[in-house]
Amino acid sequence: MHRSGLILVAVLAFGVMFCGPNEKKKETGEQAPAPGGGGGGGGGGAGLAADMIRDPLLWRPDYPAALRSVPALSKAGETQVEILSRRIVGTRKYSDRGAAERDAHAAEQAQAAAPPMRVAVGSTEARGRKLPPIAAIDFPDDRSVRVGTPDHDAQYINVNARIEQVEQKWGKPEKVTQEVLDDGTERRPIALTLYHYANDAVIVVTTDINDPHAVDRVYLDTKTVMQTIF
């Protein structure tokens, strides 16, 4: 039980966080729709999502290679992936490591026959960079078992990007929520702020660890990535 993550969502629009640690996710302050609003997985938001997925503001040179793993992770059942500075992981948390290993194996097999990008992202060379094998991993932020790549020498996220730049380019997020990552130990919890775009197809995330305005990771909806890129 101590390894279970703790999710806490608070209303940022009013600058108030006032809920107990066991409180489950609550909807937060709705903000102005993003330009080209609508749905992420379908509708007008797909255009915004496609643009953000390809936006160099958010990404670093190795990102296209990470993007190429999305079809494999999608085939393994992931509906959302987290792209961090040096790894890509699915958001599903497994209670059974064996199940994670089976899904990771399926993803790795799918990775070997990854489809080509219909919409090119990055250079041919960048798209061709090799990823470490997809595996069942212990995700250190919350000690959950996930399917994804281990930490490795890569640059996926533009760690110099700031949320103000994202908002300037893509408008205010549709909503802003908070999520607290507790790994079940007495380690400090990690507070994430999630900026939701294109009906959650793209979620830009910052943390309270250092600069709360700096982009730390991005969540992508795998279905949207498949529809817009592959």
Binding site: G20, D138, P189, D208, I209, D211
Partner: protein
């Protein structure tokens, strides 16, 4: 006569308050992102008590950008502070600290223990000075690394979640973290937690920890606080050690310390014990929590005069009227004992939290308490409910002076928020 009594009492109280020189370590220039600066630790250079170092959650580190983690430093006894970015990221995968502690060696060398966020176990590191910065040694351990210096050996108690049940461990290094070795020090009979360390005048090492002996009931859990010792620089220990109180206690084990209906809450699962040693007599003092008959968690202190072979009957430090936790204890050179702790009063519309400093001038028999600072969480702009100030504060003594730090209400900042607040009090 009565008038004189009250006059003296008033003067005493005013004097005590005046002695608590509160300084906000952070300011708008050093904390532009209004971070909560939680879970602080403090170290004072034994060769120069004006040289003080504090760590708190006040910024991250990054190999990708070259950003280094912060250490707060004062060169004038805590009057003014600078934020020095000197902690080199231990790994490209880590973006900041998840737990930390700080100590000066007897020869005035600053050392730290750090848990690297973003890392799988082993994820803790000794940090040592290097070229104006501090660099990580070999990886070890799992959770809540403390640090202490015993002669040429540096030790770091930590909690091992990889064992079942969870176990208190001690890492040791003869070379400031370049090479490390570990020992299991906690009882295997129950899950351990709250592993804290103190070093005696002849490098005796004492570690306090608790064994969690039943399922939590409400916010409390039946536990035993024990002290283990090592007389050979952490190589061997008298595991499982000796209890510091008769029977068992009901101590805090909660992720909702406070009143969630009346403000944000902290967590107090490993915020219930600390240990200190008299710098010349080697008397060992254990501070810990136990619930009183009224159902309130209180702070107690017990003493050992035989190198933690046995402990005296505990004496209550807090006054019994409010729920209290987060004890830190230190002993001044003149024998005065100091205990920093936090209590809360939820009788009004909003929970009022108060940091208090208690001193005993008679070896722990009687205690006098001073309120350092009170606040409601509603008055502060930051702080994540369920964590807030962190798991512990900082307290140490050099000579006859106590030096402390807690995560409290900012002083003199337009954006009222959690900040690291420094104080010193005479012993």
């Amino acid at each position: 006569m009565r008038r004189n009594f009250f006059a003296i009492l008033t003067l005493s109280l005013l004097s005590a308050v005046a002695q608590a020189q509160l300084v906000d370590i952070a300011n708008n220039a050093t904390d532009p992102n209004n971070l909560d600066d939680s879970e602080p630790s403090i170290a004072v250079n034994p060769l120069n008590a004006n040289d003080i170092a504090v760590v708190s959650f006040s910024g991250g580190w990054s190999s990708a950008t070259g950003l280094k983690g912060p250490v707060w430093r004062s060169a004038n006894g805590g009057t003014t502070w600078s934020k020095q970015l000197v902690l080199v990221a231990p790994s490209p995968a880590s973006n900041g600290t998840g737990d930390q502690n700080i100590v000066f060696t007897k020869s005035g060398v600053l050392l730290l223990s750090e848990l690297g966020l973003g890392l799988a176990v082993p994820r803790c590191f000794f940090y040592r000075p290097s070229g104006g910065n501090f660099v990580a040694g070999a990886a070890y351990g799992d959770d809540q690394p403390m640090v202490a210096s015993a002669g040429g050996t540096t030790v770091s108690p930590w909690l091992n979640f990889g064992l079942a049940p969870e176990r208190s461990m001690v890492e040791r290094t003869p070379n400031q973290g370049v090479g490390v070795a570990q020992a299991v020090v906690g009882s295997a009979a129950f899950a351990n937690r709250t592993t804290r360390v103190a070093v005696g005048p002849n490098n005796q090492i004492y570690v306090i920890y608790k064994t969690r002996e039943a399922a939590p009931v409400g916010n409390f859990q039946q536990s035993t606080f024990r002290v283990v010792r090592s007389f050979d620089f952490g190589v061997t220990w008298n595991t499982p050690g000796v209890p510091v109180h008769p029977g068992t206690v009901m101590t805090w084990f909660t992720s909702s310390w406070g009143n969630a209906a009346k403000g944000k809450v902290g967590r107090a699962r490993s915020s219930d014990a600390w240990i200190a040693v008299h710098p010349s007599t080697n008397a060992v003092f254990a501070a810990f929590c136990n619930r009183n008959a009224a159902g309130r968690g209180q702070i107690f202190v017990s003493r050992s005069i035989n190198s933690a072979g046995s402990f005296s009957a505990p004496v209550q430090v807090s006054d019994g009227t409010l729920n209290s936790a987060y004890p830190e204890i230190a002993v001044a050179a003149n024998g005065t004992i100091g205990v920093l702790y936090l209590d809360f009063n939820d009788s009004g519309a909003q929970t009022v939290f108060t940091y208090r400093f208690a001193r005993s001038f008679d070896g722990g028999v009687t205690w006098s308490r001073v309120a350092l600072q009170s606040f409601t969480t509603q008055s502060l702009s930051n702080g994540n409910s369920g964590f807030l100030w962190g798991d512990y504060m900082g307290l140490t003594a050099v000579g006859n002076m106590f030096f402390g730090v807690f995560t409290g209400k900012s002083i003199g900042r337009a954006n009222v928020q959690f900040d690291p607040i420094f104080f010193k009090m005479p012993g």
